[in-house]
């Protein structure tokens, strides 16, 4: 066959050989092995669930094998039978893949890869999230290793996109071009992303940990106040009588939305740039050590800060900082802060007057803002509900290549920003975007409603946030076209944000008008509702949180929005903000305004209220599942033991193919990993050198007899000592025996871990 080329391969692993960095190849191969092990029942459900979550492989609605069709819950009989990929999660059920996009930055090649993956494995849609990630839905778990390989080949990882880990590090999408920032936070977000990715101090959390960077205090682009750790750029005088300044950050800790929102507290007024990474590491250590592990509802760092008080939390962080082993990576990145720089590819030029395409002026007014670089602008693409097709993503890659070298940033408002656009290119840019359905005006305005996935795909969704958001977009657009109340200049820039439940993934607390899904009983049936949240502040990095006013049936929310907007338009004082207006008129007044909307008709009087937006089924909360936002609490030692099991499994495969030396080496490595996992319970800084591991194991677990089996005594520990003294062998019989011994050693390590847990629990009791 004449067309045979390097690209002709039977698997993606072969096709991409040499194009995926070796460490990522190994990580993904390991995950593929874990999938194979789970299929064979060799990994515990809980451990596998957290393992896949830390690879970004998330559950989706109906993955428990049940679906309510409006009258009854029915079984979805997947071909996999009883095989599961986590507690109560069916193997074959479609899932979501969350793809980390650090600070939202994507290049053209990455966009094209995402477009390909969305078509081939998902539903043809790439979804931009409120944390600048990309999500693909309806993914089969068996496809995930290949997807990860294809992403890794263009420099993207899904690692730690979900689970109890450091999630995507977000940043203001205007970083580097904003007129208000003292400096570009992008390289710092980049450095912290890769410093904490897989870091040993960030593997033992009770819940997720979110970090955000902002370039300034006053705008909302980075939302630093509502994150577990927020860093806001600052410069200060070096104070030695010169005009010299130094870069740093005001660092916040303990912010977060969720069911119980907390405003972040200032951890440090000013942290020098060279102190940022160790400070973040110390915070991770305190959170990992003292954060709640059992009560999932109180396991975020915000609860730890609230419980200890910011002074005590700060003291503990200082204590950790003082004992942190020095790490060159803390400052190495400072030598190359240009790593995230984006250079314009077109010359700066002002926009001249001339004939324009229809809609250009409106788009220019709402979607384009000037950069601090003279002659350049940033243009936002207003994505409906954060969605775009593969074809649009590919077209966007082309457009970006033509106008700015191929770079974009995802925004926390589920849009995409094209930066470094020469002003003179705007008419041509608009025409290209418009041709692909990407030229909608109204970015970051009332019509640009944000929504989490809600009941569309989320297991925790109570009401249809996307259904409501889609309906609101339509009605607001119509009102603007027909100069209705929602076209009024006073409400133009208000933000509406919708969450499907109280967990606030749609960030309803920081919207001018926010909603979160609830349900109410009436007439013996259940009606989808949304709580109306007012008083939140989007600006000043999510400066204050709104409160619930009243619950309104989902189908009446558009009417509620019109009434609230109408009241504001009619009664606001000159220059009065929406937050000030709500504070002045009072929530009781708003509640009264909406009171009639809360009166529920009987089912026979009006059935429409008994179903949700974009879903004709009679409403039920019967599809609510157990969410995976919280991940599974799997301790570092359990992960370590799981890694040891994987190693011994690989040893078995080596043995099967007759590679006795490799098999024996894997058995030895498995025992070392299991021993090291146990040691981490007492010494998190344990290294990876065999001598150190065996020495520490002897002192901590052998001499203390903690590892001793109640019946077999020191037998299993001696397996490790023996092989450590004589690691190499090419005897097939010996290799076989070592594999068996490694398996027994790992079992003994599990038992030892269990005994330690029981001892600790008894002490607490």
């Amino acid at each position: 066959m004449s067309q045979l080329t390097v690209d002709s391969a039977a698997t993606w692993k072969e096709r991409l050989e040499g194009r995926v960095p070796p460490h990522l190849t190994e990580e993904i191969d390991i995950f593929e092995t874990q999938i194979a092990q789970k299929r064979q029942g060799k990994i515990d459900d809980k451990v596998f669930a957290e393992t896949r979550l830390r690879r970004g492989v998330y559950g989706q609605r109906y993955d428990n094998g049940q679906r309510h069709d409006g009258t009854a819950s029915r079984a979805l009989e997947y071909p996999c039978g009883d095989l599961t990929k986590g507690p109560n999660t069916v193997w074959d059920a479609p899932g979501m893949l969350r793809i980390k996009i650090p600070f939202g930055a994507m290049d053209a090649e990455q966009m094209e890869a995402l477009a390909d993956l969305a078509e081939e494995y998902s539903d043809g849609i790439a979804h931009v999230t409120t944390r600048q990630d990309i999500q693909l839905h309806f993914i089969h778990i068996d496809d995930t290793p290949d997807i990860m390989r294809r992403l890794a080949a263009v420099g993207i990882t899904t690692r730690e996109a979900c689970g109890n880990s450091v999630r995507n590090v977000t940043a203001c999408p205007l970083a580097g071009v904003c007129r208000d920032e003292p400096f570009d936070v992008s390289p710092y977000a980049h450095a912290l992303t890769y410093f904490l990715l897989g870091h040993k101090d960030a593997q033992d959390f009770g819940r997720k940990f979110k970090i955000a960077f902002s370039g300034c205090e006053q705008h909302a682009c980075g939302l630093a106040n509502m994150h577990d750790l927020g860093a806001v750029a600052q410069v200060r005088s070096t104070g030695n009588g010169t005009r010299r300044t130094e870069r740093g950050f005001r660092v916040y800790v303990g912010g977060g939305l969720g069911a119980v929102p907390h405003q972040a507290k200032v951890l440090r007024e000013f942290v020098r740039e060279d102190e940022l990474l160790p400070l973040a590491q110390a915070v991770c250590r305190v959170f990992g050590r003292l954060g709640e592990k059992r009560n999932r509802a109180r396991a975020r760092v915000k609860f730890l800060v609230a419980k200890l008080g910011i002074e005590e939390f700060t003291r503990l962080v200082d204590e950790e900082l003082a004992i942190l082993p020095s790490d060159d990576r803390w400052t190495a990145y400072l030598d190359d802060l240009s790593i995230t720089d984006e250079a314009p590819t077109r010359p700066p030029a002002t926009l001249e007057s001339g004939p324009r395409a229809e809609g250009f002026a409106e788009w220019l007014g709402s979607n384009v803002q000037r950069q601090r670089q003279s002659g350049y602008v940033a243009a936002a693409i207003n994505l409906p509900l954060g969605d775009l097709t593969s074809a649009q993503l590919r077209a966007l890659a082309d457009t970006a290549r033509r106008f700015n070298g191929g770079l974009v940033r995802n925004t926390v408002e589920q849009n995409i920003l094209l930066r470094h656009i020469s002003e003179a290119d705007l008419p041509a840019l608009y025409e290209e975007l418009h041709a692909h359905g990407l030229g909608e005006p109204g970015a970051s305005s009332l019509v640009d409603v944000t929504a989490c996935p809600g009941t569309d795909t989320c297991k925790l969704g109570i009401s249809s946030s996307r259904g409501l958001a889609g309906e609101l977009r339509k009605r607001i657009a119509t009102s603007i076209r027909t100069t209705g109340v929602l076209a009024d200049e006073a409400v133009k820039d208000l933000r509406i944000k919708v969450s499907g439940c109280f967990n606030s993934c749609g960030q309803h607390h920081v919207a001018d008008i926010g909603f979160y899904g609830v349900s109410r009983k009436s007439d013996g049936r259940t009606i989808p509702h949304f709580q109306v949240i007012l008083g939140g502040q989007w600006t000043e990095n999510a400066g204050s949180y709104g409160l619930a006013v009243v619950a309104v049936p989902a189908k009446r929310i558009p009417e509620a929005v019109e009434r609230i907007a109408g009241l504001f338009v009619a009664e606001r004082e000159k220059g009065e903000s929406f937050q000030s207006f709500i504070a002045r008129v009072g929530k009781a007044r708003v509640r009264q305004l909406l009171d009639d909307l809360t009166k529920l008709p009987t089912y026979l009087e009006d059935r429409t209220l008994y179903s949700d937006w974009s879903d004709p089924r009679e409403y039920t909360i019967g599809d609510l599942g157990v969410g995976e936002c919280a991940g599974e609490v799997v301790t570092a030692v359990e992960f370590g033991l799981s890694a040891a099991e994987r190693e011994v499994f690989q040893g078995l495969l080596e043995l099967d193919r007759g590679a006795t030396e490799a098999a024996a080496a894997k058995a030895y490595e498995a025992m070392l990993q299991a021993a090291r996992a146990l040691i981490t319970t007492e010494n998190i800084d344990i290294g990876t050198a065999p001598e150190e591991i065996v020495g520490e194991f002897r002192i901590r677990f052998y001499d203390t007899e903690l590892f001793f089996d109640p019946y077999a005594g020191a037998k299993f520990a001696n397996y490790l000592f023996r092989v450590h003294g004589d690691a190499e062998t090419n005897s097939s019989e010996e290799a076989h025996r070592r594999i068996e011994e490694a398996q027994l050693f790992i079992e003994a390590a599990h038992a030892c871990n269990q005994r330690i847990s029981e001892i600790q629990a008894a002490r607490v009791a």
């Binding site: 993606w12 081939e120 539903d123 309806f138 889609g470």
Partner: protein, 195 residues
């Protein structure tokens, strides 16, 4: 097995195809109208396969419209390229190992059967009052797996098999087989179109 067959994916292992039956010109229906229709198909199990959920992307420009997500395949009232139609996107061959999925001709014939069955159901759908019709001669077949080379040899092989499947399904141009041609840019998935 020689070197070539070890490295180049054989079309006999290809299972991921998209087949779109374009709507007739007279069709006037909004994509959202398919939401209740597809939900009812799930409830009443109108197709002989596992159907899981409905996804609404009618808000996206030239997008996948409204989807009926199954385990083996996704059905959609698809709006891509600005041309409405019934899209059948096969993802898995449920319960069959690669020995059991049949020949390429068999698989293409099965695709046609599945897509046409969905078209029949939609055209007879009471909630749509006969406002949707499909032109069963206007089809797009796409290889939804980039592991397979999108070269001329593949295109020719696929086109031949597709024509045979169409003839078997009774889709002809008079007495002749319908013409099949390749469309789209080289970077797009390999796509064939009739007519």
């Amino acid at each position: 097995m020689d070197m070539e067959s070890a490295q180049v994916p054989d079309l006999d292992t290809l299972v991921k195809f998209d087949l779109k039956v374009l709507a007739a010109d007279a069709t006037e229906v909004e994509a959202e109208e398919f939401i209740p229709v597809f939900h009812r198909w799930i409830t009443e199990r109108l197709l002989p396969e596992l159907l899981i959920d409905v996804a609404d992307y009618s808000h996206v420009h030239d997008g996948p419209g409204v989807l009926l997500v199954g385990h083996d395949a996704i059905y959609a009232y698809d709006l891509s390229r600005g041309e409405p139609g019934l899209l059948y996107s096969r993802r898995h061959e449920s319960g069959a190992d690669l020995e059991g999925i049949g020949s390429l001709d068999d698989r293409l014939r099965s695709l046609l059967d599945c897509a046409y069955r969905a078209c029949d159901l939609i055209e007879a759908e009471p909630q749509l009052n006969g406002r949707v019709a499909f032109d069963r001669h206007r089809l797009e077949l796409r290889v939804n797996d980039r592991l397979f080379p999108a070269d001329e040899k593949t295109a020719l092989t696929l086109a031949g098999a597709f024509q045979r499947a169409l003839v078997e399904a009774g889709v002809r141009d008079g007495d002749a087989a319908v013409e099949v041609k390749r469309i789209g840019e080289p970077r797009e998935r390999l796509t064939l179109r009739t007519g």
